[in-house]
């Protein structure tokens, strides 16, 4: 364990700021959470649509290779040669049906089999290529969203998602048949929990755009799912009305077919955030880099049935609306940094909005309540083994 356990306040609406800043907790978080019994989304299969497509990512330092073989099956591997663990593939994405490690020329198929290695007669007696496939973490797909876990203990993905699965399905256009538009990637100067605590959650007062565009939020609900406190938002579609300061109104137009679906946000423990807002479908794959840095890959999607005009509209809206320089989210990004700086002060962060009783946790909230984050904090506290002070 870390140097000293973190003293956790008795009230559920208080979080010790040291949780964001004590770097000695970080290694323990990696062990218990990122390498522990949790599922982590790493990509959507539509990011590698064709046979032979691959992607590489790193999750909490672990290099992963996602490949689609020539029969169309998607698999996740460790991106390391099964011989001496040399990084196998260096490209971020591409198309290959075989992966060769240049160190000793071991060659792997997109199914992960070792299909060739020079001079095996010089290896250990009885060496058999069949014993050296690429290593694999456990992985599962949910409507094309690829999850991995590094623990054999983790429950099934369905159990992990609970009720959040339904909202997540709706968010991914109902059927997960997505088409990749591209990425915005960024590093934030924020502990991963500071990122997760403030992305997804809405602070309407922060965003002058809503007022300037006469944009009222749609009515909706916020709920948390499972013991992990995954946060889900479901709200009716809202569009800006009345005079606007924008000359290009398409940025905030809704051109979709099904207004009943409205806006969705799903935030899964520990770091994943996803949103469907207007015609933007955005999956944010986040990973801690170190105790003070979080890297987020914002991936944007169209739907496979979209016509050319709709794809164009999504492209124009996605690029400028959300993300690290988006009209209504740049300010969120600045909060990640500023919360992290401000958390280097003594005491607790105190959640107010929506908290009715500091001695109780709830699971249904109003749309802009801060209290939706509290079940997740309780789960974090319990996983980390910190004792809550007695009432």
């Amino acid at each position: 364990m870390a140097d000293a356990p973190l003293a956790w306040p008795k009230n559920y609406n208080e979080v010790p700021k040291a949780a964001f800043t004590r770097t000695d907790l970080y290694a323990e978080e990696i062990k218990r959470i990122f390498h522990g019994p949790e599922w982590h989304p790493i990509a959507h299969e539509s990011e590698l649509p064709n046979p032979g497509d691959f992607r590489t990512v790193r999750l909490a330092g672990i290099p992963l290779l996602i490949s689609r073989d020539d029969c169309g099956e998607v698999r996740v591997f460790y991106n390391a040669c099964s011989h001496r663990s040399n990084q196998l593939e260096t490209a971020v994405m591409g198309n290959k049906t075989e992966f060769e490690c240049p160190y000793h020329r071991w060659l792997f198929s997109a199914k992960g089999e070792l299909v060739g290695c020079p001079n095996p007669r010089e290896f250990l007696p009885g060496f058999d290529k069949a014993d050296y496939p690429l290593g694999q973490p456990r992985f599962e797909l949910f409507y094309g969203l690829i999850f991995v876990t590094f623990s054999p203990e983790t429950e099934s993905l369905d159990q992990f998602l609970g009720q959040a699965g339904e909202t997540l399905r709706e968010l991914m256009a109902g059927d997960g048949r997505l088409k990749l538009l591209g990425y915005q990637k960024v590093r934030y100067d924020s502990n991963w929990k500071g990122y997760n605590d403030n992305d997804g959650y809405h602070a309407p007062l922060l965003h002058a755009a809503f007022k300037m565009l006469n944009w009222q939020g749609g009515k909706g609900r916020q709920y948390t799912a499972t013991k992990r406190g995954h946060v889900c938002f479901e709200s009716a579609l809202s569009v800006a009305s009345g005079p606007s300061v924008l000359k290009d109104k398409d940025l905030i137009a809704f051109k979709g077919q099904d207004p009943s679906v409205g806006s969705r946000i799903v935030q899964l423990f520990p770091t994943f955030v996803s949103t469907k807002h207007l015609d933007v479908i955005n999956l944010r794959f986040a990973t801690p880099i170190d105790a003070e840095t979080t890297e987020v890959h914002y991936a944007y999607f169209a739907h496979q049935d979209d016509d050319e005009e709709m794809v164009r509209h999504r492209l124009r809206q996605s690029s400028n609306l959300l993300g690290p320089c988006g009209l209504i989210s740049m300010e969120d990004a600045s909060i990640f940094h500023r919360i992290h700086i401000g958390s280097h002060t003594p005491g607790n962060a105190i959640f107010q909005k929506g908290v009715r009783d500091p001695g109780k946790l709830e699971s249904e909230f109003s749309q802009n309540d801060e209290s939706g984050n509290l079940p997740r904090w309780e789960y974090y506290r319990s996983v980390m083994g910190f004792e809550r002070a007695e009432a």
Partner: protein
């Protein structure tokens, strides 16, 4: 009409430097003034990684004059007072150019941008990459961007962006 090489180079360089100067001065109306007054005037900022994989999505996708004007509004009105401000210094170097027709030229330039956040005062590299420009030439030796694409080698930004690159 073909413009003499020295004259064209001088016009292009004046435009490149005027843009760097406007951005580093946080002069958004000045930035806008470097773009041609045509509906199709455009500015894009995206990771070269996206372009290389035929992914058009970018950090900024201002594909018409109206969006360029909106970007001035984002920075000067909508976002005012919400972000940690930072200084930038753009270093630009033209590496190739050609005249396409009497009123159009194309130019490729390398750029690097330093940033210094006002709160920390520590200077870092914000981004490096290339500008791919299409330039409208006027008879009096003037030049304005018809289209500018900032293609970032930096596929992972070190922070959120407020100002165009």
């Amino acid at each position: 009409m073909k413009i003499a090489t020295a004259e064209l180079e001088a016009a292009l360089d004046r435009l490149l430097l005027a843009d760097a100067n406007a951005l580093d001065s946080k002069d958004m109306p000045g930035w806008l003034a470097n773009y041609a007054e045509e509906d199709g005037a455009s500015y894009y900022c995206r990771a070269a990684e996206n372009t290389e994989h035929n992914l058009e999505l970018g950090f900024m996708f201002d594909d018409c004059r109206a969006r360029l004007e909106d970007r001035v509004t984002y920075v000067t009105e909508i976002w005012a007072g919400t972000f940690q401000d930072y200084r930038t210094r753009h270093f630009v170097q033209r590496v190739s150019h050609c005249q396409v027709d009497a009123s159009t030229a194309e130019a490729v330039s390398n750029f690097s941008v330093f940033m210094t956040p006002m709160d920390t005062g520590v200077t870092q590299v914000l981004a490096a990459g290339r500008y791919l420009d299409k330039v409208r030439l006027s008879e009096n030796g003037g030049a304005k961007f018809l289209s500018r694409r900032a293609e970032l080698d930096t596929s992972v930004l070190p922070r959120y962006l407020v100002y165009p690159i």
